[in-house]
């Protein structure tokens, strides 16, 4: 059980570990080199001046001690309350890795070169988010050096308040007034900006005019969201950025439409009791109240602001999951998506992000292979979103779609990145082998051990290149496992995990969202496009897919190049995608039936033709009979047109790739309209037949029906070739022979209702989804609808052919046009009653 809950964190952990040493190094360097700019930030227009206090509550300018944030800010704000109600109190000890909730224990195991900051050693760091120019690098550097007491104060380095000298930290007297309070110009306290969030969460660039640049594959964990998904928060147009993006000039969309529309991180991720955003839940409100004016006032909020921030769903701090407003809380789908057929169905089956984040443009981690560490302990990494032939060119990537469990219990497809990682595990519990020990298994001091080189150094140059750092044979795995065993790690084996990372930012507005139906409704539906997870599978074992709530993926497989791929299988999520999700064997069955019918009538017709040639033509006596009333003919031909239309449009919907010139959404609408007309036409015809009594035409006479049917069948099989007369004469009163009656009974009672009901239910996925779902849902109904359509098509072939069996091939068709039939004027087969009528 413990193992299960830790699963999702392992990969994050591994990922986090990737650049930790770099972070430490660069932090130290930059802290040392950056000359502190003196108070370049604009002073806060609102926040009062205040003294910086030490832990004893004495002004630091006097005591020279480190600043206590809790004491300093606690003069006015309830810092005890804030600390207790904060999801971000851990930032004070965040050194680029050990984020609480991300599995510090594993990090500690893996990252032997980073210091574990003891719990409680550092107060919650208010300055990091609430001052204009926090010095995160100096803060991390202090933590790395074990200088916990000064870590928060170090955040102020560069503001002119404090300076670091060889002997320690010295406050700048010029920044303080005679009472020990900071001078006005040095008070830069502010609401957290997006840039403040970006210090730890990902690349944030709020200036639309200055081109955004960053080392896309050199990200550290401080750009966590960007590292794992490629998300970049900036209002800037991609075309204006400084990145080497493919087809850049055409990319006039912004990185993120919300950033573009002047939203900050905190506009969505607000403090949960911020009176500007907070709305009481409607469940608590008495029915007679629409709005409860008794609100928390700002003074109270500022004293005790919750430092839990509205969020969606994630493994971190699940207790405040789904406190954030969702897309539809702000956006009206009703007002904007009228062009989209089956709007409700689409929005039920798919998250907004699915269409509105069609592409992530910055690279993201693809895979991390820790099994053969480099000399600095770093893993082999691969990135998604780089051009295959030129890694310096950023192409971005299309997220993979996975079913996401929503707050309301529903499930919808949403975009994800998948990051695969491999590491050594040991024992029955498959515990990760600490990185130090893995490294020890490979290294002899600072260089790879001689027999490791012998096993891995393919080109024999005495060093392991990036491509040589790969366990691609069982022999290599056994070899290292043996070395690990020597070190005490029994049953060491390579374990792989695939971790989904949700993508919710970098939303594009309508013009850049997916609008073409056939992006998904087609053979190459991007919903099922294979995502390459890795070009390697160390140890040969398929990694396990870290499950999403309510969904277990099974689409992992290696292709013939050895690359690991994932394909989403819609059926596993209970989805049937029109134009894509055909059930192949059912289609083949339908085709077979259709072709069989075609072949049958061709053979029959051919034989008839030959037999007629061999026969002396006989001129039977004919008489003209008014066979079909105007309404019957109109009803028939209208139905003909509709059925042809429905079969054709249905075929386009079923196989849109074969009919590229047609607009998918137009054809879908036409199909529905035709179906409605057909239904009305059928209902009117049913009424006509019932009211006029013509319904009798369709009702077989129970007495002797089978004999009659056999007689008719024998006629088609034998008599017709000999020029025999029809066994049953067609009359105004009895237009149909027993086989026809049987066929129409089937069609009217089985096929037509089946098609109508499945059709209505499929349409109902939009309007009454529960009913549709309870009757099998689209994955059941749609294939049924398809096979019945094939049967209808086959019927039409037979039907049309059989019209040619009149006294001339066109007689019957002409009769259905003019109403006047020419029937043989003989009396065989007529029953006595009809003869006399």
């Amino acid at each position: 059980m413990m193992r299960r809950t830790r699963q999702p964190f392992i990969l994050v952990t591994l990922v986090l570990g990737l650049l930790l040493m770099l972070v430490g190094l660069t932090a130290t360097l930059s802290a040392a080199q950056d000359a502190p700019p003196v108070s370049p930030a604009v002073a806060s227009p609102l926040h009062p001046v205040f003294p910086l206090l030490d832990v004893d509550g004495a002004p630091v300018i006097g005591s020279g001690k480190p600043v206590s944030t809790l004491k300093t800010c606690g003069e006015c704000h309830d810092t005890a309350f804030i600390t207790q109600n904060a999801t971000h109190n851990g930032v004070s000890t965040f050194t680029g890795g050990s984020t609480p909730g991300y599995g510090d224990d594993l990090l500690a195991a893996y990252l032997n070169n980073t210091k574990d900051v003891p719990a409680g050693a550092v107060e919650m760091n208010c300055f990091l988010c609430h001052t204009a120019q926090p010095n995160n690098a100096a803060r991390v550097s202090a933590l790395q050096a074990g200088d916990y007491a000064w870590a928060n104060t170090a955040t102020l380095l560069g503001t002119g308040i404090v300076e670091q000298t060889g002997n320690g930290w010295i406050y700048n007297a010029a920044a303080f007034d005679e009472t020990g309070a900071l001078k006005r110009d040095y008070v830069t306290v502010q609401d957290p900006t997006s840039a403040a969030c970006g210090q730890c969460h990902g690349v944030v660039h709020t200036d639309a005019q200055t081109p955004l640049t960053f080392d896309a594959t050199g990200l550290d964990i401080g750009q966590y969201k960007t590292l794992t998904t490629g998300q970049v928060m900036s209002p800037q147009r991609l075309s204006s950025s400084g990145l080497n993006l493919a087809d850049k000039n055409a990319l006039s969309r912004s990185w993120d439409v919300h950033a573009e529309r002047v939203l900050n991180c905190t506009n969505c991720h607000y403090s949960l009791n911020n009176p500007v955003y907070f709305t009481e839940s409607s469940e608590d409100r008495p029915d007679h109240l629409v709005f409860d004016p008794r609100r928390m006032d700002f003074g109270e909020y500022l004293k005790r602001p919750l430092h839990q921030f509205a969020k969606g769903q994630s493994a971190v701090t699940p207790e405040i999951n789904n406190t954030m407003r969702r897309c539809e809380s702000c956006h009206s789908i009703e007002a904007t998506h009228n062009w989209l057929p089956y709007k409700e169905r689409h929005t039920e089956a798919m998250a907004c992000e699915t269409c509105h984040i069609p592409q992530v443009y910055a690279p993201a981690l693809e895979s991390v292979d820790w099994t053969v560490p480099a000399a600095d302990g770093s893993p082999h990494t691969a990135w998604r979103g780089l051009a295959a032939d030129d890694p310096a060119l950023l192409t971005g990537y299309q997220p993979v779609m996975l079913p996401r469990a929503n707050a309301d219990g529903s499930q919808s497809l949403a975009p994800f990145n998948l990051v695969t990682s491999w590491y050594w595990a040991y024992g029955d519990e498959a515990q990760p082998v600490p990185l130090d020990s893995v490294k020890a298994a490979y290294f002899d001091g600072e260089t790879y051990a001689a027999d490791v080189l012998a096993a891995f150094d393919v080109d024999g140059d005495g060093a392991l290149s990036d491509t040589e750092r790969l366990i691609d044979t069982a022999a290599k795995e056994t070899f290292i496992a043996a070395r690990l065993k020597t070190a005490g790690f029994v049953n060491a084996k390579i374990v792989g995990e695939v971790q989904p990372f949700a993508i919710n930012h970098n939303v594009a507005w309508g013009d850049w969202a997916i609008r073409d139906c056939r992006t998904c409704h087609g053979e190459d539906s991007r919903l099922t496009a294979a995502l390459v997870l890795s070009d390697r599978t160390p140890g040969g074992a398929l990694p396990t897919f870290t499950s999403l709530e309510g969904f277990t993926a099974s689409g992992l497989h290696t292709d013939d190049t050895g690359a690991l791929r994932y394909e989403f299988k819609p059926a596993e999520a209970g989805l049937y995608i029109f134009g894509h999700s055909a059930v192949d064997w059912l289609d083949w069955l339908g085709v077979l039936f259709f072709l069989g019918t075609l072949a049958g009538v061709t053979l029959h017709g051919g034989l008839r033709y030959l037999s007629v040639r061999r026969r002396v033509p006989q001129q039977a006596e004919l008489k003209r009979v008014y066979m079909y009333s105007v309404y019957e003919r109109q009803w028939h031909w209208l139905q003909t047109a509709l059925i042809f239309g429905l079969i054709f449009t249905g075929l386009v919907i079923h196989k849109p790739d074969k009919f590229g010139i047609f607009s998918f959404d137009y054809i879908v609408q036409v199909h529905n309209i035709l179906a409605i007309i057909l239904l009305i036409n059928a209902a009117l015809a049913a009424f006509y037949h019932l009211a006029s009594g013509e319904i009798q035409q369709f009702l077989p006479k129970p007495h002797g029906f089978f004999n009659d049917a056999i007689m008719q069948a024998k006629y088609y099989l034998r008599g017709i070739f000999k020029g025999e007369e029809h066994p049953f004469a067609k009359t105004r009163q009895r237009k149909m022979n027993p086989l026809q009656q049987m066929t129409y009974l089937m069609i009217l009672n089985v096929l037509l209702p089946a098609q109508v009901i499945t059709g209505i239910l499929m349409w109902g996925a939009q309007h009454f989804p529960d009913v549709t779902a309870s009757l099998g849902g689209l994955p059941f109904l749609a294939p049924l609808h398809t096979i019945v359509a094939w049967l209808f098509a086959s019927f039409i072939v037979a039907h049309v052919y059989l019209t040619t069996t009149g006294h001339t091939p066109l007689t019957n068709i002409k009769a259905m046009i003019s109403g006047w039939d020419e029937v043989e004027a003989h009396d065989s087969g007529l029953n006595p009653k009809e003869q006399t009528s």
Partner: protein
Amino acid sequence: MKDFKYIWVIGLTATALIVVVPIILFVSASETPTNDPWQYVPERLPDVSHAALMNEPFATGQDVTRACLDCHPSAAQEMAGTAHFTWLSDPVPLEGKTELVQVGKVNLLNNFCIGIQSNWTGCTRCHAGYGWSDANFDFTDTNNVDCLVCHDQSGGYAKAASGLPAEGVDLLAAARSVGTPTRENCGYCHFNGGGGNAVKHGDLDESLYFPAEEQDVHMGRYDFQCVDCHKTENHEISGRAISVSVDNANQVYCTDCHTGTVHEDSRLNAHTDSVACQTCHIPSGATREATKMVWDWSTAGDPTREESPHEYLKIKGSFVYEDNIMPTYAWFNGTVDRYLLGDPLDPDGVTTLNPLNGDISDPNAKIWPFKVHVARQPYDTLYNYLLQPQTVGETGYWTTFDWNSALENGSRVTGLPYSGQYGFAETEMNWTLSHMVVPKENALQCTDCHGESGRLDWLALGYNGDPITWGGREEQE
């Protein structure tokens, strides 16, 4: 039952109607039609070759004009009535003036070369006429109209002092080449306003002869000529510049072609009542060539100072040129007030020669982008008004470097008394940025004006704060 031969026609028609009509009625069209601006762009007629019509060698420009008038008898008469020839407006009302006034280059002061009076021979190089060298120019002589400067397509036509053809110009070749005016014709004067390329406007310079599409979407991407927008009838060219005009009659607007609902995005459309198209679609001025932002006449005449065309000239003083200028944004209802000769000024303040009309409470005003040109220019320290110096000619400042005599000479022409005591006062002029419209992909974005680092000073514009949170102008009262 009768056998009606054509019953199938009726049946087929009925069937077709029953099927097709509901489809047409109920299936929604996927694309909504937009207003196509191209319908307003005039069709360009091919030029009629005049090569065979012009045979005589021409001695003077007027000879060419006479030849033109043989076939286009009303053309010169039309031209002679337009501001391109008269350099003077129709009578217009002006705030603070009891009578209608006629304004134009003829009688106005600006803060570049200051004014044409007493300087005609230099300034009228850009006059669409011949021989305007003093106050006595005959505007009624239609032979003085210069057809070639606008219609020459040989590329070899040039004008010299008093607007006469430059020495060595092949008038016959020019006359044979005539056609519809191109950017080269208009640009010959308008790209060089203020005495050189890109000096004056900030949105018109010689880069527009061969504009890139990112620079100007109309001229760059679609190869517009000036007259495609500045539609012209009977030689009356539409368009107004607030440096010389105070009204907005006959103005050219973006919405002449971009009609109806211009943006797909309703949030953007909500801006169009308060924000001029230019504001977002011309993010910066002088994107290719630096334009003059500051001209300090008071430093002129220093023989010791090193000359550099974009920094200091002895005859003109010192300059500041800037490129990619961030426009100045202000409310503007399309009309301006105007400093006229003799109007008083505050020598310690800044005198705006063409103050913008409109503010946040003016429903016709919108926020517009401007190039604001600042200068220090001579004024009469006793009478407190700006003076017109003579700069051109033997007795002009550019020859004598004597302000006193230059101002005396100029004042003699303008009739405005000069006390003999002069100083230099700070003035500014507003220049609308209306050309160099960038492709929409490069227009300003929300964050350029709104939010933490917006470029607009909302308080100065009369808002209580950023309208993204405070609401639009209607909600500011």
